[in-house]
Protein backbone atom coordinates (compact mmCIF):
# COMPACT_ATOMS: atom_id res chain seq x y z
CA UNK A 1 0.00 0.00 0.00
CA UNK A 2 1.09 3.55 -0.61
CA UNK A 3 2.26 5.22 2.56
CA UNK A 4 4.35 8.11 3.83
CA UNK A 5 6.01 7.89 7.22
CA UNK A 6 7.44 10.77 9.20
CA UNK A 7 8.80 9.22 12.38
CA UNK A 8 9.32 12.42 14.36
CA UNK A 9 6.39 14.45 15.62
CA UNK A 10 8.69 17.15 16.97
CA UNK A 11 12.23 18.20 16.13
CA UNK A 12 13.79 20.89 18.26
CA UNK A 13 17.12 22.45 17.25
CA UNK A 14 19.07 25.59 18.04
CA UNK A 15 19.49 28.39 15.54
CA UNK A 16 22.45 27.66 13.27
CA UNK A 17 22.32 23.91 13.80
CA UNK A 18 21.75 21.49 10.90
CA UNK A 19 18.27 20.15 10.34
CA UNK A 20 17.12 16.84 8.91
CA UNK A 21 13.43 16.01 8.76
CA UNK A 22 12.92 12.35 7.95
CA UNK A 23 10.47 10.96 5.42
CA UNK A 24 10.12 7.38 4.21
CA UNK A 25 7.65 6.18 1.64
CA UNK A 26 6.10 3.01 0.30
CA UNK A 27 5.06 3.05 -3.35
CA UNK A 28 5.05 0.41 -6.04
CA UNK A 29 5.70 2.71 -8.98
CA UNK A 30 8.14 5.51 -9.67
CA UNK A 31 7.57 7.93 -6.80
CA UNK A 32 7.14 11.66 -7.01
CA UNK A 33 7.59 13.37 -3.68
CA UNK A 34 7.02 16.78 -2.20
CA UNK A 35 7.56 18.70 0.98
CA UNK A 36 4.77 21.01 2.15
CA UNK A 37 5.12 23.53 4.96
CA UNK A 38 2.60 25.24 7.21
CA UNK A 39 3.80 28.29 9.12
CA UNK A 40 1.84 29.47 12.13
CA UNK A 41 -1.58 30.85 11.14
CA UNK A 42 -0.86 30.31 7.45
CA UNK A 43 -2.14 27.81 4.96
CA UNK A 44 -0.37 24.72 3.75
CA UNK A 45 2.00 25.54 0.90
CA UNK A 46 4.44 23.72 -1.31
CA UNK A 47 8.07 23.99 -0.22
CA UNK A 48 9.81 21.86 -2.82
CA UNK A 49 9.41 18.86 -5.10
CA UNK A 50 12.05 16.25 -5.78
CA UNK A 51 11.73 16.35 -9.54
CA UNK A 52 12.84 19.98 -9.65
CA UNK A 53 16.01 19.31 -7.68
CA UNK A 54 15.66 22.80 -6.29
CA UNK A 55 16.77 24.49 -3.09
CA UNK A 56 14.11 26.62 -1.46
CA UNK A 57 14.90 28.79 1.57
CA UNK A 58 18.09 26.79 1.95
CA UNK A 59 16.24 23.47 2.14
CA UNK A 60 17.06 20.52 -0.11
CA UNK A 61 15.71 17.00 -0.34
CA UNK A 62 17.16 14.05 -2.23
CA UNK A 63 15.15 11.07 -3.30
CA UNK A 64 16.88 7.83 -2.29
CA UNK A 65 15.06 4.99 -3.98
CA UNK A 66 17.22 2.34 -2.34
CA UNK A 67 16.26 3.51 1.13
CA UNK A 68 12.81 4.75 0.01
CA UNK A 69 13.53 8.05 1.69
CA UNK A 70 13.11 11.74 0.93
CA UNK A 71 14.64 13.52 3.89
CA UNK A 72 14.52 17.32 4.09
CA UNK A 73 17.77 19.02 5.03
CA UNK A 74 19.09 22.45 5.82
CA UNK A 75 22.65 23.12 6.96
CA UNK A 76 21.89 26.07 9.26
CA UNK A 77 18.44 26.43 10.81
CA UNK A 78 16.85 29.84 11.23
CA UNK A 79 14.11 30.81 13.68
CA UNK A 80 11.77 31.58 10.79
CA UNK A 81 12.02 27.93 9.73
CA UNK A 82 9.86 26.97 12.70
CA UNK A 83 6.75 25.38 11.18
CA UNK A 84 4.93 22.13 10.51
CA UNK A 85 6.46 20.13 7.67
CA UNK A 86 4.61 17.45 5.71
CA UNK A 87 6.10 15.00 3.28
CA UNK A 88 3.72 14.00 0.49
CA UNK A 89 3.64 11.35 -2.23
CA UNK A 90 1.90 11.94 -5.55
CA UNK A 91 -0.48 9.07 -6.25
CA UNK A 92 -1.18 9.84 -9.88
CA UNK A 93 -3.53 7.99 -12.20
CA UNK A 94 -7.00 9.48 -12.53
CA UNK A 95 -6.85 10.84 -9.01
CA UNK A 96 -3.83 13.11 -8.85
CA UNK A 97 -4.13 12.97 -5.08
CA UNK A 98 -1.37 13.48 -2.55
CA UNK A 99 -0.71 11.06 0.28
CA UNK A 100 0.63 12.94 3.28
CA UNK A 101 2.68 11.90 6.24
CA UNK A 102 1.64 12.88 9.75
CA UNK A 103 3.97 15.85 9.81
CA UNK A 104 6.93 17.01 11.88
CA UNK A 105 6.88 20.18 13.91
CA UNK A 106 10.25 21.92 13.61
CA UNK A 107 11.02 24.26 16.49
CA UNK A 108 14.14 26.38 16.08
CA UNK A 109 15.30 27.81 19.40
CA UNK A 110 17.21 31.12 19.53
Amino acid sequence: AQRVTQPEKLLSVFKGAPVELKCNYSYSGSPELFWYVQYSRQRLQLLLRHISRESIKGFTADLNKGETSFHLKKPFAQEEDSAMYYCALYYGGATNKLIFGTGTLLAVQP
Partner: protein, 116 residues
Protein backbone atom coordinates in the same frame (compact mmCIF):
# COMPACT_ATOMS: atom_id res chain seq x y z
CA UNK B 1 -4.65 37.21 -7.46
CA UNK B 2 -6.82 35.62 -4.80
CA UNK B 3 -5.96 32.17 -3.61
CA UNK B 4 -8.29 29.33 -2.68
CA UNK B 5 -10.96 30.47 -0.27
CA UNK B 6 -13.16 28.41 2.02
CA UNK B 7 -16.21 29.22 4.06
CA UNK B 8 -17.10 29.12 6.81
CA UNK B 9 -13.73 29.13 8.52
CA UNK B 10 -15.24 27.61 11.65
CA UNK B 11 -18.37 25.55 12.06
CA UNK B 12 -19.85 24.10 15.22
CA UNK B 13 -22.59 21.54 14.73
CA UNK B 14 -24.65 19.43 17.05
CA UNK B 15 -24.47 15.72 16.45
CA UNK B 16 -26.99 14.77 13.82
CA UNK B 17 -27.03 18.12 12.02
CA UNK B 18 -26.20 18.52 8.35
CA UNK B 19 -23.39 20.87 7.32
CA UNK B 20 -22.21 22.32 4.01
CA UNK B 21 -18.66 23.52 3.44
CA UNK B 22 -17.80 25.71 0.49
CA UNK B 23 -14.63 25.98 -1.56
CA UNK B 24 -13.79 28.68 -4.12
CA UNK B 25 -10.78 27.49 -6.11
CA UNK B 26 -8.38 29.70 -8.01
CA UNK B 27 -10.11 30.88 -11.18
CA UNK B 28 -9.40 28.63 -14.14
CA UNK B 29 -8.08 25.72 -12.12
CA UNK B 30 -9.22 22.42 -13.53
CA UNK B 31 -8.51 20.18 -10.55
CA UNK B 32 -10.11 20.45 -7.14
CA UNK B 33 -9.42 18.29 -4.11
CA UNK B 34 -10.95 17.87 -0.68
CA UNK B 35 -8.83 16.61 2.21
CA UNK B 36 -9.71 15.89 5.84
CA UNK B 37 -7.16 16.65 8.54
CA UNK B 38 -7.82 15.23 11.98
CA UNK B 39 -5.98 16.63 14.98
CA UNK B 40 -2.33 15.62 14.94
CA UNK B 41 -2.56 13.98 11.53
CA UNK B 42 -1.65 14.90 8.00
CA UNK B 43 -4.28 15.73 5.41
CA UNK B 44 -6.13 12.69 4.07
CA UNK B 45 -7.66 12.62 0.62
CA UNK B 46 -11.44 12.64 0.37
CA UNK B 47 -12.39 13.33 -3.23
CA UNK B 48 -11.17 14.78 -6.53
CA UNK B 49 -12.88 16.77 -9.30
CA UNK B 50 -11.63 17.44 -12.79
CA UNK B 51 -13.82 20.35 -13.84
CA UNK B 52 -17.33 19.23 -12.90
CA UNK B 53 -16.59 15.51 -13.04
CA UNK B 54 -15.96 13.73 -9.76
CA UNK B 55 -13.29 11.26 -10.82
CA UNK B 56 -12.45 9.82 -7.42
CA UNK B 57 -14.47 9.71 -4.24
CA UNK B 58 -12.66 6.76 -2.71
CA UNK B 59 -11.62 8.73 0.36
CA UNK B 60 -15.10 9.72 1.48
CA UNK B 61 -15.50 7.90 4.81
CA UNK B 62 -19.19 7.10 4.51
CA UNK B 63 -22.29 7.75 2.45
CA UNK B 64 -23.02 10.66 4.77
CA UNK B 65 -20.36 12.59 2.86
CA UNK B 66 -21.23 14.10 -0.48
CA UNK B 67 -19.35 16.55 -2.69
CA UNK B 68 -20.28 18.40 -5.84
CA UNK B 69 -18.84 20.91 -8.28
CA UNK B 70 -21.74 21.45 -10.68
CA UNK B 71 -20.27 24.19 -12.87
CA UNK B 72 -16.64 23.23 -12.61
CA UNK B 73 -15.70 26.05 -10.27
CA UNK B 74 -17.12 26.33 -6.73
CA UNK B 75 -17.40 23.09 -4.80
CA UNK B 76 -19.45 22.11 -1.79
CA UNK B 77 -18.74 19.29 0.64
CA UNK B 78 -21.85 18.22 2.50
CA UNK B 79 -21.90 16.05 5.58
CA UNK B 80 -25.23 14.64 6.67
CA UNK B 81 -26.10 13.60 10.22
CA UNK B 82 -22.74 14.71 11.57
CA UNK B 83 -20.97 12.53 14.11
CA UNK B 84 -18.27 13.44 16.60
CA UNK B 85 -15.66 11.59 14.54
CA UNK B 86 -16.32 14.05 11.71
CA UNK B 87 -14.63 16.78 13.76
CA UNK B 88 -11.60 17.85 11.74
CA UNK B 89 -10.22 20.56 9.49
CA UNK B 90 -11.49 20.20 5.95
CA UNK B 91 -9.03 21.45 3.36
CA UNK B 92 -9.74 22.32 -0.23
CA UNK B 93 -6.99 22.53 -2.83
CA UNK B 94 -6.93 23.37 -6.51
CA UNK B 95 -4.42 22.99 -9.29
CA UNK B 96 -4.26 24.42 -12.78
CA UNK B 97 -4.11 21.21 -14.75
CA UNK B 98 -5.11 17.58 -14.48
CA UNK B 99 -2.87 14.57 -14.34
CA UNK B 100 0.37 16.49 -14.10
CA UNK B 101 2.45 15.52 -11.10
CA UNK B 102 4.50 18.70 -11.15
CA UNK B 103 1.37 20.85 -11.01
CA UNK B 104 1.23 22.61 -7.64
CA UNK B 105 -1.78 22.08 -5.41
CA UNK B 106 -2.77 25.35 -3.76
CA UNK B 107 -4.53 24.96 -0.45
CA UNK B 108 -7.25 26.99 1.16
CA UNK B 109 -7.21 28.01 4.83
CA UNK B 110 -9.53 25.15 5.77
CA UNK B 111 -12.81 24.88 7.62
CA UNK B 112 -12.56 23.67 11.20
CA UNK B 113 -15.62 21.56 11.96
CA UNK B 114 -16.44 20.73 15.56
CA UNK B 115 -19.29 18.32 16.23
CA UNK B 116 -20.65 18.42 19.75
Amino acid sequence: GAGVSQSPRYKVAKRGQDVALRCDPISGHVSLFWYQQALGQGPEFLTYFQNEAQLDKSGLPSDRFFAERPEGSVSTLKIQRTQQEDSAVYLCASSLEAGVSTDTQYFGPGTRLTVL
